[in-house]
Amino acid sequence: MRNVITIARKELSIYFTTAWGWFGAAAMAFISAFFFLDLLEGFVQLQASGRRDAPGLRNLTDGVVVNLFGVLLFITLFVAPFLSMRLFAEERRQKTFELLFTAPVRSLEIVLGKYLGGVGVIGAILGITLIYPAILAVFGSSESGHVLEWSTVFTGYLALMLWASTCMGIGMFISALTESQALAAILTFVVLLLWIALGVLVRSVDEPLRSVIRYVHFDSQLQPLMKGVFDPKAVVFFLSAIVLSIVLTHRAVEAQRWT
């Protein structure tokens, strides 16, 4: 475990001594702030128009925060490949791959350390967006007394972290397959995009394929969590995807040493 943390710390320090971590953080902060203001303004306008009973407009949680989660999910889709691309591709390009694999460390510890570092950086970047619920809690008001439903905010962030961690896992695996960071980023983006595109396919195919596609489509797994319903199935689904990507990355780096 000590080695895993040593490697994770190194990853984190590199993310924040190079432009990548800051670039991701800036992109997340800028784009999410734009959408947050837009959602808030829309909410205020609709409230003013008196349509308070429309679904999603009863309170700030459903009207703003839940909708913001959808936006954050998309920003993560763009940011994650840029963060994950360097995890292994850069080690190979810089020839530091040999340093790690000749150190008295298990290869699984290397993979886990890198993954933890990646999740740490995307977690820190998503953490910036906690400012929005905080702003609403401080400055918002509600007739019922509670401005925000914190349980919904919590499950929403759980959903975002599961999604971001899965993106990093897939990105790390692809990064382990190539020496080119740009290629790793593009491939990760394409894979994640195809995963999203499954949603379109759901409508155009028949049963039983439809149920299968709906199950593997990440959005249908995430929706309950993002709406505040804790769904253990979804947690298991994403944890399985994460474990699978770690195992595949481990196999990929091991295989490269044999050739």
């Binding site: 040593t6 320090s13 190079t18 020839k95 530091t96 040999e98 790690l100 008295p104 460390v105 044999w258």
Partner: protein, 238 residues
């Protein structure tokens, strides 16, 4: 006692044989010059000995530990400087050496002391707080050597450690390697024969994946100034 024992070590890449049934031993405290023309299989051999790459067959035992069966124990005995120093340009020299030290199991005061020791030995003390990206090629090579020395490994495997250094730096590194005699076992791979003459006691020469000579340095020079060069050209001609 032998620090390194290599038995029938073979590596095949599909139809190409990179190294073919190598057998040799290196004694404790010995400095071995590892010679061979480009593509002879030197780097492959070193990658296998350091546990980076598995062999197709045969075995290698470092400090009593089989590299393939007990890789972690064997790796703890080895300090390795690959052909290209494995550096993270965005880290400071201190941060980098601390990272490698931690991977080798050092911590706290012991890590700080060892870091100072290797920095002083390789002459990078003044550069500890500089970013590696800003270092000259010579200093990068020294930092690469410093990381290999961390944890005082019994066996040092150095792949062209003087590459890219100016004559003065080259001399300093060679003097440093020479000072390891009796303390560390060193495998020094290079194609600069004068360096081998300057520091090594024994020479292992390979050509096309096979050992063509393994003997004391005097046996190659035979009292002649350029005896090692002549032997090298003759033995690697095939």
């Amino acid at each position: 006692m032998a620090m390194l024992e290599v038995q029938n070590l073979t590596k095949r890449y599909r139809d190409r044989v990179a190294i073919d049934a190598l057998n040799f031993t290196v004694g404790e405290g010995e400095i071995l010059g590892f010679l061979g023309p480009n593509g002879a299989g030197k780097s492959t051999t070193m990658k296998i000995l350091t546990g980076f790459m598995p062999a197709t067959s045969g075995r290698a035992v470092v400090g009593g530990f089989d590299v393939f069966e007990r890789p972690l124990e064997a790796k703890r005995c080895i300090g390795y400087l690959p052909e290209t120093p494995p550096l993270y340009p965005e880290m400071s020299v201190r941060g980098y050496l601390a990272f490698v030290g931690r991977l080798k199991g050092l911590k706290g005061k012991a890590l700080a002391n060892d870091l100072e020791r290797v920095a002083a030995a390789t002459g990078v003390t003044q550069e500890l707080d500089r970013l590696i990206v800003n270092l000259s090629k010579g200093y990068r090579q020294r930092v690469g050597l410093a990381q290999a020395l961390l944890g005082s490994p019994k066996l040092l495997i150095l792949d062209e450690p003087t590459e890219g250094l100016d004559p003065r730096q080259r001399q300093e590194v060679l003097t440093l390697i020479k000072s390891f005699a009796g303390k560390h076992t060193v495998i020094l791979s290079t194609h600069i024969l004068s360096e081998v003459k300057a520091v090594s006691q024994r020479v292992l020469m390979i050509n096309r994946g096979k050992i063509v000579a393994h003997d004391a340095i005097e046996a190659f020079s035979q009292g002649k100034e350029n005896g090692l060069e002549e032997s090298f050209i003759r033995l690697t001609a095939a």
